[in-house]
Protein backbone atom coordinates (compact mmCIF):
# COMPACT_ATOMS: atom_id res chain seq x y z
CA UNK A 1 0.00 0.00 0.00
CA UNK A 2 2.68 2.43 1.08
CA UNK A 3 4.92 1.27 -1.75
CA UNK A 4 2.29 1.94 -4.39
CA UNK A 5 1.53 5.30 -2.87
CA UNK A 6 5.21 6.24 -2.97
CA UNK A 7 5.42 5.14 -6.58
CA UNK A 8 2.49 7.39 -7.45
CA UNK A 9 4.11 10.36 -5.71
CA UNK A 10 7.29 9.78 -7.68
CA UNK A 11 5.42 9.59 -10.96
CA UNK A 12 3.59 12.79 -10.09
CA UNK A 13 6.89 14.52 -9.30
CA UNK A 14 8.43 13.28 -12.53
CA UNK A 15 5.54 14.62 -14.54
CA UNK A 16 5.01 17.95 -12.83
CA UNK A 17 8.60 18.83 -11.98
CA UNK A 18 9.88 17.50 -15.30
CA UNK A 19 12.56 15.39 -13.65
CA UNK A 20 13.94 12.48 -15.70
CA UNK A 21 11.77 9.47 -15.13
CA UNK A 22 14.62 6.93 -15.20
CA UNK A 23 16.31 8.54 -12.23
CA UNK A 24 13.19 9.30 -10.25
CA UNK A 25 11.58 5.92 -10.71
CA UNK A 26 14.63 3.72 -11.16
CA UNK A 27 13.64 2.59 -14.62
CA UNK A 28 15.98 1.32 -17.30
CA UNK A 29 17.07 3.72 -20.01
CA UNK A 30 17.35 2.01 -23.35
CA UNK A 31 19.09 3.53 -26.34
CA UNK A 32 18.96 1.79 -29.70
CA UNK A 33 20.81 2.62 -32.85
CA UNK A 34 18.77 1.08 -35.64
CA UNK A 35 18.88 -2.65 -35.29
CA UNK A 36 22.57 -2.95 -34.65
CA UNK A 37 23.20 -1.52 -31.16
CA UNK A 38 21.25 -1.52 -27.97
CA UNK A 39 22.49 0.23 -24.87
CA UNK A 40 20.70 -0.50 -21.62
CA UNK A 41 21.40 1.45 -18.43
CA UNK A 42 20.14 0.72 -14.98
CA UNK A 43 19.78 -3.06 -15.23
CA UNK A 44 20.18 -5.39 -12.30
CA UNK A 45 22.25 -8.18 -13.80
CA UNK A 46 22.53 -10.70 -16.56
CA UNK A 47 20.09 -13.58 -16.44
CA UNK A 48 20.70 -15.41 -19.68
CA UNK A 49 22.77 -14.81 -22.75
CA UNK A 50 23.05 -16.61 -26.05
CA UNK A 51 23.69 -15.40 -29.56
CA UNK A 52 19.94 -15.10 -30.14
CA UNK A 53 18.65 -13.86 -26.81
CA UNK A 54 19.64 -11.60 -23.91
CA UNK A 55 17.69 -11.65 -20.68
CA UNK A 56 18.31 -8.90 -18.14
CA UNK A 57 16.98 -8.46 -14.63
CA UNK A 58 15.34 -5.13 -13.91
CA UNK A 59 14.15 -3.59 -10.66
CA UNK A 60 10.73 -4.96 -11.32
CA UNK A 61 10.56 -7.52 -14.04
CA UNK A 62 12.82 -8.58 -16.87
CA UNK A 63 13.89 -7.32 -20.25
CA UNK A 64 14.26 -9.74 -23.14
CA UNK A 65 16.13 -8.77 -26.27
CA UNK A 66 15.86 -11.16 -29.22
CA UNK A 67 17.76 -11.15 -32.46
CA UNK A 68 20.81 -12.73 -34.13
CA UNK A 69 24.57 -12.81 -33.75
CA UNK A 70 24.64 -11.18 -30.33
CA UNK A 71 27.88 -9.99 -28.82
CA UNK A 72 28.10 -8.14 -25.52
CA UNK A 73 30.53 -5.37 -26.36
CA UNK A 74 30.74 -4.07 -22.80
CA UNK A 75 29.20 -5.01 -19.53
CA UNK A 76 29.33 -2.97 -16.33
CA UNK A 77 27.35 -3.39 -13.09
CA UNK A 78 24.45 -1.24 -14.36
CA UNK A 79 25.13 -0.84 -18.06
CA UNK A 80 25.35 -3.13 -21.03
CA UNK A 81 26.10 -2.58 -24.70
CA UNK A 82 24.84 -5.28 -27.03
CA UNK A 83 25.71 -5.62 -30.67
CA UNK A 84 24.08 -7.77 -33.32
CA UNK A 85 20.83 -7.77 -35.27
CA UNK A 86 18.03 -6.88 -32.85
CA UNK A 87 14.53 -7.97 -33.74
CA UNK A 88 12.48 -7.37 -30.62
CA UNK A 89 12.66 -5.94 -27.11
CA UNK A 90 10.13 -7.26 -24.62
CA UNK A 91 9.28 -6.33 -21.03
CA UNK A 92 8.06 -8.97 -18.64
CA UNK A 93 6.38 -7.72 -15.51
CA UNK A 94 7.03 -9.47 -12.29
Amino acid sequence: MVKRWRQQVKRWMAETLELPADIMMDLPRITMIGQIHIYIENHRGLLAFSDKELRLLLRNGQLIVRGEQFVIKTILPEEILLEGKINQVTYIDK
Binding site: L46, F49, V71, I72, K73, T74
Partner: protein, 395 residues
Protein backbone atom coordinates in the same frame (compact mmCIF):
# COMPACT_ATOMS: atom_id res chain seq x y z
CA UNK B 1 33.42 3.01 -20.37
CA UNK B 2 36.53 1.02 -21.01
CA UNK B 3 39.45 2.54 -22.76
CA UNK B 4 40.86 0.58 -25.68
CA UNK B 5 44.30 2.12 -25.34
CA UNK B 6 44.68 1.33 -21.71
CA UNK B 7 43.68 -2.26 -22.39
CA UNK B 8 46.17 -2.53 -25.21
CA UNK B 9 48.98 -1.20 -23.04
CA UNK B 10 48.12 -3.23 -19.98
CA UNK B 11 47.39 -6.40 -21.97
CA UNK B 12 44.18 -8.35 -22.23
CA UNK B 13 43.24 -12.02 -22.30
CA UNK B 14 40.52 -13.89 -24.12
CA UNK B 15 38.88 -16.40 -21.79
CA UNK B 16 36.84 -19.43 -22.75
CA UNK B 17 34.34 -20.50 -20.08
CA UNK B 18 32.63 -23.85 -20.15
CA UNK B 19 29.92 -24.94 -17.74
CA UNK B 20 26.65 -23.92 -16.25
CA UNK B 21 25.78 -20.56 -14.74
CA UNK B 22 28.02 -18.54 -17.00
CA UNK B 23 25.70 -15.56 -16.64
CA UNK B 24 26.13 -15.68 -12.88
CA UNK B 25 29.87 -15.75 -13.36
CA UNK B 26 29.75 -12.69 -15.59
CA UNK B 27 27.51 -10.86 -13.13
CA UNK B 28 29.92 -11.64 -10.32
CA UNK B 29 32.88 -10.41 -12.37
CA UNK B 30 31.13 -7.18 -13.27
CA UNK B 31 30.12 -6.52 -9.69
CA UNK B 32 33.74 -6.97 -8.58
CA UNK B 33 34.63 -4.11 -10.89
CA UNK B 34 36.30 -6.14 -13.61
CA UNK B 35 36.01 -4.98 -17.17
CA UNK B 36 34.40 -7.59 -19.40
CA UNK B 37 33.94 -7.12 -23.11
CA UNK B 38 33.17 -8.87 -26.36
CA UNK B 39 31.10 -11.62 -24.76
CA UNK B 40 30.19 -14.26 -27.35
CA UNK B 41 28.23 -17.45 -26.99
CA UNK B 42 29.55 -20.30 -29.04
CA UNK B 43 27.34 -23.19 -27.92
CA UNK B 44 24.89 -23.82 -25.11
CA UNK B 45 27.62 -24.00 -22.49
CA UNK B 46 30.60 -22.14 -23.94
CA UNK B 47 31.24 -18.44 -23.86
CA UNK B 48 34.31 -16.41 -24.68
CA UNK B 49 35.07 -12.93 -23.49
CA UNK B 50 37.97 -10.57 -22.90
CA UNK B 51 39.26 -9.36 -19.57
CA UNK B 52 42.26 -7.34 -18.52
CA UNK B 53 45.47 -9.19 -17.80
CA UNK B 54 45.50 -7.77 -14.27
CA UNK B 55 42.05 -9.25 -13.58
CA UNK B 56 42.99 -12.85 -14.36
CA UNK B 57 43.68 -13.75 -10.75
CA UNK B 58 40.36 -12.38 -9.64
CA UNK B 59 38.58 -14.30 -12.39
CA UNK B 60 40.17 -17.56 -11.32
CA UNK B 61 38.97 -16.91 -7.79
CA UNK B 62 35.42 -16.28 -8.91
CA UNK B 63 35.40 -19.21 -11.32
CA UNK B 64 36.48 -21.62 -8.60
CA UNK B 65 33.33 -20.80 -6.65
CA UNK B 66 31.01 -21.00 -9.63
CA UNK B 67 32.20 -24.33 -10.90
CA UNK B 68 32.89 -23.28 -14.47
CA UNK B 69 35.97 -24.34 -16.36
CA UNK B 70 38.32 -21.66 -17.59
CA UNK B 71 40.76 -21.73 -20.45
CA UNK B 72 42.71 -18.90 -21.96
CA UNK B 73 42.60 -18.76 -25.72
CA UNK B 74 44.24 -15.54 -26.69
CA UNK B 75 46.56 -12.87 -25.46
CA UNK B 76 46.93 -9.41 -26.89
CA UNK B 77 48.59 -6.23 -25.76
CA UNK B 78 51.95 -4.84 -24.98
CA UNK B 79 53.09 -7.23 -22.20
CA UNK B 80 52.65 -10.22 -24.52
CA UNK B 81 54.23 -8.35 -27.36
CA UNK B 82 57.25 -7.66 -25.16
CA UNK B 83 57.48 -11.25 -24.12
CA UNK B 84 57.58 -12.30 -27.74
CA UNK B 85 60.13 -9.67 -28.55
CA UNK B 86 62.24 -10.71 -25.60
CA UNK B 87 62.61 -14.21 -26.97
CA UNK B 88 63.47 -12.98 -30.43
CA UNK B 89 67.18 -13.19 -31.20
CA UNK B 90 66.79 -10.79 -34.12
CA UNK B 91 65.61 -8.14 -31.73
CA UNK B 92 68.68 -8.53 -29.58
CA UNK B 93 70.96 -8.54 -32.58
CA UNK B 94 69.29 -5.38 -33.84
CA UNK B 95 69.60 -3.71 -30.47
CA UNK B 96 73.26 -4.64 -30.29
CA UNK B 97 73.92 -3.34 -33.78
CA UNK B 98 72.07 -0.15 -32.98
CA UNK B 99 74.00 0.46 -29.78
CA UNK B 100 77.27 -0.33 -31.55
CA UNK B 101 76.30 2.11 -34.29
CA UNK B 102 75.50 4.90 -31.87
CA UNK B 103 78.69 4.17 -29.96
CA UNK B 104 80.82 4.25 -33.09
CA UNK B 105 79.19 7.37 -34.43
CA UNK B 106 79.46 9.14 -31.07
CA UNK B 107 83.22 8.71 -31.23
CA UNK B 108 83.64 10.21 -34.66
CA UNK B 109 84.41 13.80 -35.56
CA UNK B 110 81.34 14.91 -37.45
CA UNK B 111 82.18 18.44 -38.19
CA UNK B 112 85.01 20.91 -38.00
CA UNK B 113 84.05 24.53 -37.98
CA UNK B 114 86.48 27.36 -38.00
CA UNK B 115 85.37 30.77 -36.99
CA UNK B 116 87.05 34.12 -37.31
CA UNK B 117 89.65 33.19 -39.96
CA UNK B 118 90.07 34.56 -43.47
CA UNK B 119 89.63 31.98 -46.23
CA UNK B 120 93.40 31.60 -46.70
CA UNK B 121 94.06 31.01 -43.02
CA UNK B 122 91.10 28.68 -42.83
CA UNK B 123 92.47 26.65 -45.70
CA UNK B 124 95.85 26.55 -44.01
CA UNK B 125 94.32 25.45 -40.73
CA UNK B 126 92.35 22.70 -42.46
CA UNK B 127 95.49 21.47 -44.20
CA UNK B 128 97.42 21.53 -40.97
CA UNK B 129 94.64 19.72 -39.13
CA UNK B 130 94.56 17.08 -41.84
CA UNK B 131 98.25 16.49 -41.31
CA UNK B 132 97.54 15.95 -37.61
CA UNK B 133 94.81 13.49 -38.53
CA UNK B 134 91.95 15.79 -37.60
CA UNK B 135 89.31 15.57 -40.28
CA UNK B 136 85.72 14.66 -40.71
CA UNK B 137 85.20 10.98 -39.91
CA UNK B 138 88.28 10.55 -37.71
CA UNK B 139 87.92 8.83 -34.37
CA UNK B 140 87.92 11.28 -31.50
CA UNK B 141 89.99 9.15 -29.16
CA UNK B 142 92.84 8.90 -31.65
CA UNK B 143 93.24 12.67 -31.80
CA UNK B 144 95.20 14.97 -29.56
CA UNK B 145 93.32 16.74 -26.85
CA UNK B 146 92.19 20.32 -27.49
CA UNK B 147 95.10 21.91 -25.59
CA UNK B 148 97.68 20.09 -27.68
CA UNK B 149 95.84 20.93 -30.88
CA UNK B 150 95.75 24.52 -29.82
CA UNK B 151 99.46 24.57 -29.10
CA UNK B 152 100.39 22.83 -32.32
CA UNK B 153 98.23 25.08 -34.45
CA UNK B 154 99.56 28.23 -32.88
CA UNK B 155 103.09 26.99 -33.42
CA UNK B 156 102.66 25.88 -37.01
CA UNK B 157 100.58 28.66 -38.47
CA UNK B 158 102.21 32.01 -38.28
CA UNK B 159 99.18 34.13 -39.12
CA UNK B 160 97.20 33.30 -36.05
CA UNK B 161 97.70 34.83 -32.67
CA UNK B 162 95.41 32.58 -30.76
CA UNK B 163 93.13 29.70 -31.49
CA UNK B 164 90.50 28.34 -29.14
CA UNK B 165 89.75 24.66 -29.59
CA UNK B 166 86.61 23.25 -28.12
CA UNK B 167 84.52 20.12 -28.48
CA UNK B 168 80.88 20.81 -29.09
CA UNK B 169 79.37 17.36 -28.93
CA UNK B 170 80.80 15.57 -31.93
CA UNK B 171 82.04 18.66 -33.71
CA UNK B 172 85.28 20.49 -33.21
CA UNK B 173 85.02 24.20 -32.99
CA UNK B 174 87.97 26.50 -33.66
CA UNK B 175 87.85 30.14 -32.70
CA UNK B 176 90.68 31.91 -34.50
CA UNK B 177 92.14 35.30 -33.77
CA UNK B 178 94.35 36.50 -36.60
CA UNK B 179 97.30 38.75 -36.26
CA UNK B 180 96.54 41.52 -38.70
CA UNK B 181 93.52 42.95 -37.06
CA UNK B 182 93.85 46.73 -37.20
CA UNK B 183 93.49 48.25 -33.79
CA UNK B 184 90.89 50.93 -33.65
CA UNK B 185 92.61 54.25 -33.05
CA UNK B 186 91.25 56.01 -30.08
CA UNK B 187 91.82 59.68 -29.40
CA UNK B 188 94.48 59.89 -26.74
CA UNK B 189 93.77 61.75 -23.54
CA UNK B 190 96.14 64.63 -22.64
CA UNK B 191 99.33 63.24 -21.18
CA UNK B 192 102.99 63.86 -20.41
CA UNK B 193 105.89 61.63 -21.20
CA UNK B 194 108.10 60.71 -18.26
CA UNK B 195 111.27 58.66 -17.90
CA UNK B 196 110.86 54.95 -17.32
CA UNK B 197 114.20 54.72 -15.56
CA UNK B 198 117.32 56.72 -15.00
CA UNK B 199 119.23 57.38 -18.20
CA UNK B 200 121.25 59.80 -20.25
CA UNK B 201 119.25 61.22 -23.13
CA UNK B 202 120.79 60.32 -26.48
CA UNK B 203 118.16 61.31 -28.95
CA UNK B 204 114.78 63.03 -28.94
CA UNK B 205 111.97 62.64 -31.37
CA UNK B 206 108.87 64.54 -30.30
CA UNK B 207 105.70 64.50 -32.38
CA UNK B 208 103.58 66.51 -30.04
CA UNK B 209 104.23 68.29 -26.78
CA UNK B 210 106.83 70.52 -25.23
CA UNK B 211 110.25 68.84 -24.78
CA UNK B 212 111.81 69.68 -21.43
CA UNK B 213 115.11 67.84 -21.78
CA UNK B 214 117.85 67.88 -24.37
CA UNK B 215 120.54 65.49 -25.53
CA UNK B 216 123.14 64.49 -22.93
CA UNK B 217 120.86 65.38 -20.02
CA UNK B 218 120.85 62.99 -17.15
CA UNK B 219 117.30 62.10 -16.12
CA UNK B 220 115.89 60.40 -13.05
CA UNK B 221 113.20 57.79 -13.06
CA UNK B 222 109.81 59.52 -13.30
CA UNK B 223 111.26 62.83 -14.48
CA UNK B 224 109.13 64.81 -16.93
CA UNK B 225 110.54 64.51 -20.45
CA UNK B 226 107.89 65.93 -22.73
CA UNK B 227 105.13 68.09 -21.31
CA UNK B 228 101.57 67.84 -22.52
CA UNK B 229 100.89 71.45 -21.62
CA UNK B 230 101.80 73.78 -24.50
CA UNK B 231 101.35 77.41 -25.33
CA UNK B 232 102.40 80.62 -23.67
CA UNK B 233 101.51 81.60 -20.14
CA UNK B 234 97.77 82.12 -19.80
CA UNK B 235 96.92 80.47 -23.10
CA UNK B 236 97.95 76.96 -22.27
CA UNK B 237 96.50 73.95 -23.99
CA UNK B 238 96.47 70.29 -23.02
CA UNK B 239 97.66 67.84 -25.66
CA UNK B 240 98.58 64.17 -25.64
CA UNK B 241 102.36 64.30 -25.72
CA UNK B 242 103.70 61.83 -28.22
CA UNK B 243 107.20 60.90 -29.23
CA UNK B 244 110.25 58.90 -28.43
CA UNK B 245 113.10 59.74 -26.13
CA UNK B 246 116.08 57.49 -26.52
CA UNK B 247 118.29 57.23 -23.52
CA UNK B 248 121.30 55.26 -22.55
CA UNK B 249 120.41 52.93 -19.72
CA UNK B 250 122.40 50.44 -17.74
CA UNK B 251 121.78 46.84 -16.83
CA UNK B 252 123.68 44.44 -14.66
CA UNK B 253 123.37 40.71 -14.76
CA UNK B 254 124.97 37.72 -13.15
CA UNK B 255 125.19 34.28 -14.71
CA UNK B 256 126.31 31.09 -13.05
CA UNK B 257 127.11 28.18 -15.35
CA UNK B 258 128.40 24.73 -14.35
CA UNK B 259 131.14 23.24 -16.47
CA UNK B 260 129.54 19.84 -16.74
CA UNK B 261 125.87 19.09 -17.26
CA UNK B 262 124.07 15.87 -17.92
CA UNK B 263 120.68 15.88 -19.55
CA UNK B 264 118.39 13.49 -21.34
CA UNK B 265 117.84 13.81 -25.02
CA UNK B 266 115.19 11.89 -26.93
CA UNK B 267 116.69 9.77 -29.67
CA UNK B 268 113.53 9.71 -31.77
CA UNK B 269 112.93 6.02 -31.31
CA UNK B 270 109.55 5.32 -29.80
CA UNK B 271 106.93 2.67 -29.46
CA UNK B 272 103.29 2.88 -28.60
CA UNK B 273 101.00 0.73 -26.54
CA UNK B 274 97.25 0.91 -26.61
CA UNK B 275 94.93 0.15 -23.75
CA UNK B 276 91.25 0.18 -23.08
CA UNK B 277 90.50 0.97 -19.50
CA UNK B 278 87.61 0.90 -17.09
CA UNK B 279 88.17 2.80 -13.87
CA UNK B 280 91.67 1.94 -12.74
CA UNK B 281 91.93 -1.23 -14.79
CA UNK B 282 93.74 -1.00 -18.10
CA UNK B 283 93.51 -3.82 -20.60
CA UNK B 284 96.27 -3.87 -23.21
CA UNK B 285 94.90 -4.03 -26.73
CA UNK B 286 97.94 -3.57 -28.89
CA UNK B 287 101.66 -3.53 -28.28
CA UNK B 288 103.09 -6.07 -25.85
CA UNK B 289 106.80 -6.09 -26.57
CA UNK B 290 109.15 -4.92 -23.92
CA UNK B 291 110.78 -1.66 -24.86
CA UNK B 292 114.46 -2.32 -25.67
CA UNK B 293 115.51 1.07 -24.31
CA UNK B 294 117.74 1.64 -21.33
CA UNK B 295 116.50 5.15 -20.64
CA UNK B 296 113.00 6.13 -21.55
CA UNK B 297 110.38 8.79 -21.18
CA UNK B 298 106.80 7.59 -20.92
CA UNK B 299 103.85 9.66 -22.11
CA UNK B 300 100.34 8.68 -21.24
CA UNK B 301 97.25 9.98 -22.84
CA UNK B 302 93.70 9.08 -21.85
CA UNK B 303 90.62 9.78 -23.92
CA UNK B 304 87.16 8.71 -22.79
CA UNK B 305 84.85 6.90 -25.17
CA UNK B 306 81.62 8.66 -25.79
CA UNK B 307 78.06 7.53 -26.19
CA UNK B 308 75.58 9.99 -27.62
CA UNK B 309 76.75 13.08 -25.75
CA UNK B 310 78.07 11.51 -22.60
CA UNK B 311 81.54 10.35 -21.68
CA UNK B 312 81.50 6.67 -20.85
CA UNK B 313 83.45 5.25 -17.91
CA UNK B 314 85.62 3.44 -20.47
CA UNK B 315 88.57 5.16 -21.94
CA UNK B 316 91.21 4.65 -24.53
CA UNK B 317 94.75 5.05 -23.33
CA UNK B 318 97.81 5.48 -25.46
CA UNK B 319 101.19 5.06 -23.88
CA UNK B 320 104.14 6.24 -25.88
CA UNK B 321 107.54 5.09 -24.73
CA UNK B 322 110.36 7.15 -26.12
CA UNK B 323 113.99 6.26 -25.91
CA UNK B 324 116.10 8.77 -24.06
CA UNK B 325 119.84 9.17 -24.04
CA UNK B 326 121.97 10.75 -21.39
CA UNK B 327 124.23 13.39 -22.88
CA UNK B 328 127.08 14.94 -21.01
CA UNK B 329 128.16 18.42 -21.93
CA UNK B 330 131.41 19.86 -20.67
CA UNK B 331 133.09 23.17 -21.25
CA UNK B 332 136.58 24.39 -20.74
CA UNK B 333 136.93 27.53 -18.61
CA UNK B 334 137.16 29.76 -21.66
CA UNK B 335 134.18 28.15 -23.32
CA UNK B 336 132.19 28.43 -20.11
CA UNK B 337 132.91 32.17 -19.81
CA UNK B 338 131.94 32.75 -23.41
CA UNK B 339 128.77 30.71 -23.03
CA UNK B 340 127.83 32.56 -19.83
CA UNK B 341 128.22 35.88 -21.65
CA UNK B 342 126.04 34.59 -24.51
CA UNK B 343 123.38 33.47 -22.06
CA UNK B 344 123.40 36.80 -20.26
CA UNK B 345 123.04 38.67 -23.51
CA UNK B 346 120.21 36.42 -24.65
CA UNK B 347 118.39 36.88 -21.36
CA UNK B 348 118.75 40.63 -21.52
CA UNK B 349 117.61 40.70 -25.15
CA UNK B 350 114.47 38.80 -24.18
CA UNK B 351 113.67 41.34 -21.50
CA UNK B 352 114.16 44.42 -23.69
CA UNK B 353 111.66 45.77 -26.19
CA UNK B 354 112.45 45.15 -29.83
CA UNK B 355 113.61 48.64 -30.73
CA UNK B 356 116.18 48.71 -27.96
CA UNK B 357 119.81 48.12 -28.89
CA UNK B 358 122.63 46.81 -26.76
CA UNK B 359 125.48 49.23 -27.31
CA UNK B 360 128.18 48.01 -25.00
CA UNK B 361 129.06 45.14 -22.76
CA UNK B 362 131.60 45.10 -19.98
CA UNK B 363 132.69 42.24 -17.81
CA UNK B 364 132.76 43.53 -14.27
CA UNK B 365 133.86 40.38 -12.62
CA UNK B 366 134.40 36.71 -13.48
CA UNK B 367 135.49 33.90 -11.30
CA UNK B 368 135.85 30.13 -11.09
CA UNK B 369 134.28 28.41 -8.14
CA UNK B 370 134.10 24.63 -7.65
CA UNK B 371 133.15 23.47 -11.12
CA UNK B 372 131.15 26.58 -12.01
CA UNK B 373 131.83 29.92 -13.56
CA UNK B 374 130.29 33.10 -12.26
CA UNK B 375 130.19 36.16 -14.52
CA UNK B 376 128.94 39.62 -13.69
CA UNK B 377 128.26 41.86 -16.65
CA UNK B 378 127.34 45.43 -17.25
CA UNK B 379 125.43 46.55 -20.34
CA UNK B 380 124.78 49.86 -21.93
CA UNK B 381 121.52 49.90 -23.76
CA UNK B 382 119.87 52.49 -25.96
CA UNK B 383 116.15 52.35 -25.56
CA UNK B 384 113.05 54.44 -25.57
CA UNK B 385 112.64 55.63 -22.01
CA UNK B 386 109.49 57.67 -22.53
CA UNK B 387 106.31 56.35 -20.94
CA UNK B 388 103.02 58.21 -20.98
CA UNK B 389 101.59 59.69 -17.82
CA UNK B 390 98.04 61.06 -17.99
CA UNK B 391 97.48 64.66 -16.99
CA UNK B 392 94.84 64.88 -14.34
CA UNK B 393 92.89 67.95 -15.37
CA UNK B 394 92.09 70.38 -12.64
CA UNK B 395 95.44 70.02 -10.91
Amino acid sequence: MKNEWVDTLAGSVRVKVRGKGIERLINACVRQGMAVWNVKKHSADTVTFFIRLSDVKQLRHIARKSGCKLSFVGRTGLPFFWRRVWRNSGFWLGLLVFLAGVFLLSNVVWNIDIEGATPETEHQIIRELKRMGVERGAFQFLLDDPETLQKKLTERIRDITWVGVEWKGTSLHFQVVEKEIPEPKQPLPPRHLVAKKEAVVVDLFVEEGQPLVSVNDYVQKGQLLVSGIIGAEGRTKFVPANGKVFGETWYKSTVVLPLETTFHVLTGKAMARHYIGIGRLSIPVWGWEKPPFSHMVVEREKRPFRFWKWDLPFYYERVIIREAEAVKRSYTWEEAFAEARRIARRELRAKLPEEAAIRGEKVLHQEKENGKVRVELHYEVIENIAVPQPIVQGD
